[in-house]
């Protein structure tokens, strides 16, 4: 079973190489290779579910011991992230088949996409912080190039800004890792907890790591790069960035280190709670004034990431379950929204909300799936977003943080209002004369949307089962700090 772990990183890496070598042949070859690779990663991750939940400890190491070699291990938390990555990447690579036809040199796109998937799998499997960091760097560099993929002015500008801020973030991480090692003498997640107890200088390392992760996860006030990068990238890339990437590089690291470096109840908790509330409210208010579909979704991401951080910062078992559940839900409905926005942009030629309208009659599948996403994000029972927000708010009240619970509730109300604007502006109302000839997008684009919309409903209906089997063990893995 342990041979599965290197395969999860190796398969996308090898596929990237094969696609690069085969790039001169037809685009269909690279379509097939990329989709096959992401599908294999999904199957392998699902194969891990049984053993990991059964309590089997699976790990794999290559080369020297400790952070100098490559060590992979998987627990329930890694498993949740692994499933988010693999489901997200399968959906995005199927969506890319038709969507990326409009761009040149599709094969190179797939190379970067697969490198990003390999990097993210390395992040979630890495058994120590250095392995995690290398994964973050691989995925981030692939992302910078993917954001610039269109090569237009705005793509390059967004990518340049993302590169500068992203690099400052990774440098904060490196400085934090170096300092942490020099104080604690280890970088392994399983040994850090015991090694840092009472050691001086760890708090500075904690601050550096926190700044790096906050920049990567685009929490307010570290969010300046996100709206540009996430709205200008090609839509499947936006979906991966917003839905999967920032959680893997930002939130996952925070969850791993939370109970190790940042002791709950300390000043960090207060800082994290404030950052979370700022993100929820500022992201939602800024989303309210956007007229570009994808920009609105990008600001919504900042706001929803605030909910996840709120759950993590409260730190009770219930709050962690809520945070993990919201992480999964946000990945599902944000990918759905970005696919919807991409499909509208491709078929109608614009993503300006004020120029669109009444598309429900022309693009029924996109319209209905987007409406399901709307119910989910705005917290209508029985959709998944309702339960995760409810759990986070209940956990906040239970932990005595009533004020932050109120902030979360206010954020949810603003979310409803800007998504009402989004739905009304794009899918309802009068159909402009110029859009009379718009058609539904091809099947490879709407099938991922239908699947994700079904997942929104399924996760909402089956949430007690989902929480019991998968999220409870993952929350326990966070609490153990290992």
């Amino acid at each position: 079973m342990s041979a599965v772990l290197p395969a999860l990183v190796g398969v996308p890496l090898i596929a990237a190489l094969v696609v690069a070598l085969a790039s001169r042949s037809s685009d269909r070859v690279s379509d097939v290779i990329c989709n096959a690779a992401t599908l294999i990663v999904l199957v392998l991750s699902i194969a891990l579910v049984g053993p990991v939940l059964g309590g089997v400890s699976i790990s794999w190491a290559l080369g020297m011991a400790g952070p100098l070699g490559i060590s992979f291990s998987v627990d329930a938390l890694s498993l949740v992230m692994l499933l988010v990555v693999s489901v997200g990447s399968v959906a995005a690579s199927v969506f890319s088949i038709s969507y990326m036809d409009d761009y040149t040199s599709k094969a190179r796109y797939y190379v970067l996409f697969l490198l990003m998937v390999a990097g993210m799998n390395m992040v979630v499997l890495g058994g120590d912080i250095l392995n995690m960091y290398v994964g973050i760097e691989i995925a981030a560099i692939a992302c910078y190039a993917l954001v610039a993929y269109g090569l237009g002015k705005e793509y390059l500008e967004a990518s340049f800004r993302y590169q500068v801020l992203g690099t400052v973030g990774t440098l904060c991480l490196v400085a934090g890792i170096g300092l942490l090692y020099s104080r604690a003498g280890t970088l392994s997640f399983s040994e850090l907890g015991a090694a840092v107890a009472g050691v001086e200088g760890v708090s500075l390392a904690g601050v550096l790591l926190l700044c790096g992760l906050a920049l990567k996860a685009a929490y307010v006030p570290f969010h300046a790069w996100l709206p540009d990068a996430h709205s200008t990238a090609p839509s499947p890339v936006s979906a991966m960035l917003s839905g999967v990437f920032i959680k893997v590089v930002g939130v996952y690291g925070l969850m791993r280190l939370l109970f190790v470096v940042f002791t709950p109840g300390s000043i960090y908790t207060t800082i994290l709670l404030v950052i979370a509330s700022l993100s929820i409210i500022a992201g939602a208010l800024l989303a309210l004034v956007q007229t570009d579909m994808k920009r609105l979704l990008a600001y919504c991401t900042i706001s929803q990431m605030g909910y996840i951080l709120l759950g993590v910062a409260i730190g009770s078992p219930l709050a962690l379950v809520g945070a993990l559940f919201h992480l999964v839900n946000h990945a599902v409905f944000k990918e759905l929204f970005f696919f919807g926005a991409g499909s509208v942009e491709r078929q109608a030629g614009t993503r300006d909300i004020s120029a669109l309208g009444g598309l429900n009659s022309k693009m029924p599948v996109t319209g209905v799936t987007s409406a399901i996403g709307f119910f989910s994000v705005s917290g209508c029972p029985p959709f998944n977003g309702f339960w995760s927000k409810l759990i986070i708010i209940v956990a906040a009240v239970q932990a005595g943080q009533v004020g932050y619970g109120v902030v979360a509730a206010i954020g949810a109300i603003i979310t409803v209002s800007y998504f009402l604007k989004y739905e009304k502006g794009v899918f309802f109302g009068a159909l402009p004369e110029t859009l009379k000839s718009v058609k539904e997008s091809p099947a490879t684009m709407y099938v991922p949307m239908v699947v994700l919309a079904a997942a929104c409903l399924a996760l909402g209906l089956a949430f007690p089962w989902f929480i019991d089997t998968l999220l409870e063990p993952a929350a326990q893995a966070i609490m153990l700090g290992a």
Binding site: Q163, V164, V168, V174, A175, I177, G178, L179, Y181, D228
Partner: protein
């Protein structure tokens, strides 16, 4: 102690370039300086007295390699931006909405 000071000066100079310079290449040089500063900070903090710990060396090396790859990508982006705008001045480019 002097080495910490050197690292701090490098990082501060880099930050100055990143935050205040308007020329893309100067921003890029700022990022490169910051990467160097962080790498020397990591090496310094790993100094055990009888030499630098091998893991700290590795972390610094990874930082240098990562920094170099990002700087390369930034160079490519800056050259492409120069092709599109005919200038490297950030103010001359269309300001993306904040």
């Amino acid at each position: 102690m002097q080495m910490y000071l050197v690292s701090a000066i490098l990082v501060a100079a880099g930050l100055y370039g990143v935050l205040l310079k308007r020329n893309l290449f100067k921003v890029l040089i700022g990022v490169a300086l910051m990467a160097l500063g962080v790498a020397s900070f990591v090496v310094t903090s790993g100094n055990t007295g009888s030499g630098v710990d091998v893991v700290s060396q590795t972390v610094a090396l990874v930082a240098v390699v990562g920094g170099a790859s990002v700087v390369t990508l930034m160079l490519v982006t800056a050259v492409r931006l120069h092709e599109k705008y005919g200038t490297l001045d950030i103010r001359e480019m269309r300001r993306l909405k904040g």
